[in-house]
């Protein structure tokens, strides 16, 4: 019990340190790139040098980086993420509007990819010479070779412009399918390889010799044994979806966290960038922690 508590505390401390490190890094990086929010406004309109300086001071951008960082950390610890420099609305409001979109897109895509990958891996293990077995490699190559952005553009051309079946803006179905295929391609190959390997194990041969139905062998014995690989790959893909659905969001006009971050960087909206990165860091750490936990549940051997 004490060991478990110590492990949990170490994990939390490590996560907090990671979040702090990411926050510091992003704080420095966004200020190192040229321009700030006032420059963005100046480009769009007409600020004289003195007007720009007055605005910069008013937004607190003339304070030292240390002062700015300290002020932001203290606010964040109080649960206040500040106000957008560009839109003058609470950052928390913007984030709360974007998170559900990203979570829905990520969850739906992951579920699609997960189900597809497991189904194909199962069939390919059951029927190694069937056409489905070749889908493993096709999907895997697809996910490596076809950028989701290109697939999205082709889908728009075919389904929205030529066939007129689907809208471009706010289209949820096509991004889910594209991201789902991408996820499936990443998961299915290692899963299938693991299942093939397990299929040669002694206890599987014994099960076959006893006349157990092949489907029962695959579902009841091989798949559970391959679960650690499935979980690890799913966790990796899930973490990448938190911020990695940007291209789909931009292409289909979906107002998620990815496009929020993209616009925040373009607008040099420092408080918004910091908040988005904080969310992404915490989300990735949480996903990794949940994956770890699930791994321990399905395979307790590493603890022993």
């Amino acid at each position: 019990m004490v060991t478990l508590l110590a492990t949990v505390l170490i994990h939390i401390a490590r996560a907090a340190l990671l979040v702090f490190g990411v926050t510091v890094l992003v704080f420095i990086l966004v200020r190192a790139i040229p321009g700030d929010a006032v420059d963005v406004l100046a480009i769009e309109g007409g600020l004289t040098d003195s007007q720009a300086e007055a605005m910069r001071a008013g937004l607190g951008l003339t304070a030292s980086w240390l002062d700015q960082f300290t002020a932001w950390c203290l606010s964040a610890l109080r649960g206040e993420l500040g106000e957008s420099l560009r839109f003058h609305v609470p950052v928390a409001d913007l984030l709360l509007q974007a998170i559900p979109v990203t979570l829905a897109l990520g969850a739906a895509s992951l579920a699609t990819g997960f189900v597809l990958a497991v189904a194909i891996a199962l069939i390919a293990t059951l029927r190694p010479r069937s056409i489905v077995a070749s889908l493993v490699d096709i999907l895997n190559i697809w996910s490596i070779a076809i950028p989701t952005f290109c697939a999205g553009l082709v889908a728009i051309l075919v389904f929205s412009l030529w066939l007129g079946w689907l809208p471009v803006l706010g289209n949820f179905l096509v991004p889910v399918i594209i991201l789902g295929l991408d996820a499936a391609g990443q998961i299915v190959k290692p899963l299938h390889e693991e299942m093939k390997e397990l299929g040669t194990a002694v206890y599987i041969r014994t099960a076959r010799a006893k006349g157990l139905h092949p489907l029962k062998i695959v579902i009841g014995h091989i798949l559970p044994a391959a679960a650690p690989v499935l979980l690890a790959m799913t966790g990796l893909v899930a973490a990448s979806f938190i911020g990695g659905a940007l291209t789909m969001e931009v292409l289909f006009g979906l107002p998620g966290v990815g496009s929020l971050a993209f616009n925040a960087v373009n607008g040099r909206d420092y408080p918004l960038i910091q908040a988005v990165v904080l969310f992404l860091a915490v989300a990735v750490i949480l996903i990794n922690a949940l994956t770890d936990l699930a791994q321990r549940l399905v395979d307790p051997r590493p603890e022993r």
Partner: protein
Amino acid sequence: MISSTKVRRHALLTACGSLLLASSVSLPVIDASGQTADAPVHGGTLRLATLGLDTSDPHRHTGSIGVQQVYAESLTSIAPDGSTTPWLAESYEVSDDGLTYTFRLRDGVTFHNGDTLTAGDVLANFERVRENVEGGWLASAMGFTESFEAPDDRTFVVRLSEPYAPFLNLISELWILSPASPGWDETITQPIGTGPFLFGEWIPNISLVAPAFEGYWDGDLPYLDALEFNLTELSDPSLALRSGDLHIAPVSGDQLPIIAEAEDIDIQRLKDTSWYFWSFNNRSPRPPLDNVRVREAITYALDKQAYMAFIAGDQGIVTNQMVIPGNYYFDEALHEADQHAGADLDLARQILAEEGVDPSEVTLEVVSWQSPYAEVAVQMVRELGFDVEHAALEDLGAQQRLSQYDWDLAPMGSGPRADVFLRYVRMMSDGPNPVLWGGVQDEAYDQTVAAAVAETNPALRRQHYLDAWEMVMDNYWTVVAGHAPTVFGVRDEVEGFEFGFTYGPHYAGGGVAHAWLAP
């Protein structure tokens, strides 16, 4: 290329088209069955993408004005020909000395909260802008105001400390809001205006849904139930236009041929143009470009016809001025006398030789946005034998680099503006964001533009501006290649809508209030 004659013809046709359109709106045709043809239809939501919306507080804008107009109106409006017309003011008078502006407010105008617009409300708006707004065109204009008065509910008087010619044009962007608007003392979060549509629900960088205002003062306008602005930074808005997700969207030059062929989409242009120019580093010019003859020689490498054709295809307008033929401030004689109307590489090389410059020994630092036309400029300069280091940077990167004044040439462009002064001011010593024009600092130029601004006689003011422009040309601070229209695609089902002089989708007598969706 469009010649000046063609432009006039186009303008005439556009004007005739507008008249026909206006007559079709006011006098619907009744066919044999007694049904009206092409009569405005009430209802529907118009989905459009123009510019973004950075703030819910219309007084704090610093640019990117393409949305506010639908929920907030101003005393004056910019007409499609660029002139000023009354709007919330039904009339105005300017004193002979140009110091006193008296506005007579329109009767029966109500804010979205039901309150009647009074001169006191207008005064409160002008005071708020003067006291609270730090940046943008309006802050500069308010610097000339001495006092505001509201002698009665429908009369508003502004007194200036000195004549300021752009005043009427600039206050076309001073939105009149109810002082009861939430956030009035800080940042307005829910503007209560007088426009044909309400502020509605705004999600920054995503959308603004603006429902129709049933108590709008202008007849039975608007016809639409609502507007839905798409504020996302779409990778290619024309895709959403072609699919029908948007009714109105900007069309980039490379997409224009595709959209032009689409049977269900019409092409519209803002009446003002974007101008394209090459600026030299005027703040701290480096040898040999500190020699005006060398700048002249480099300008001879500019093939304006090819350059503008690359930028705008057959929509490009070649000239040497910051406004196009037909504009009051355009000068035909200057245009005809343009010695750089065509490239002359031999003459350029001759001038360089006379000035003792061997281009092969000179590396020019060119800074640009990541616009393809900048590379065309670079190739033209390379034709003279110069070595060129080209830094094509994203917007803010270019802005920062230009502000360091460690470069030689910047091929740039700038969009429509409500007043010609907003173009001239860029080259004044204390002008706003001067980097695109090389940071000119010249006392004589400043004085000439100041004289134009202070001149109450339009003809004399025009002459001052032209004098200032001749200084620009003679010194080769900035060389104009030409102009290109800002193009939008408008789907066929949108009726009664026409873009005005600038991006504003609602203006006196036109825009989205007059639009309807064909069933």
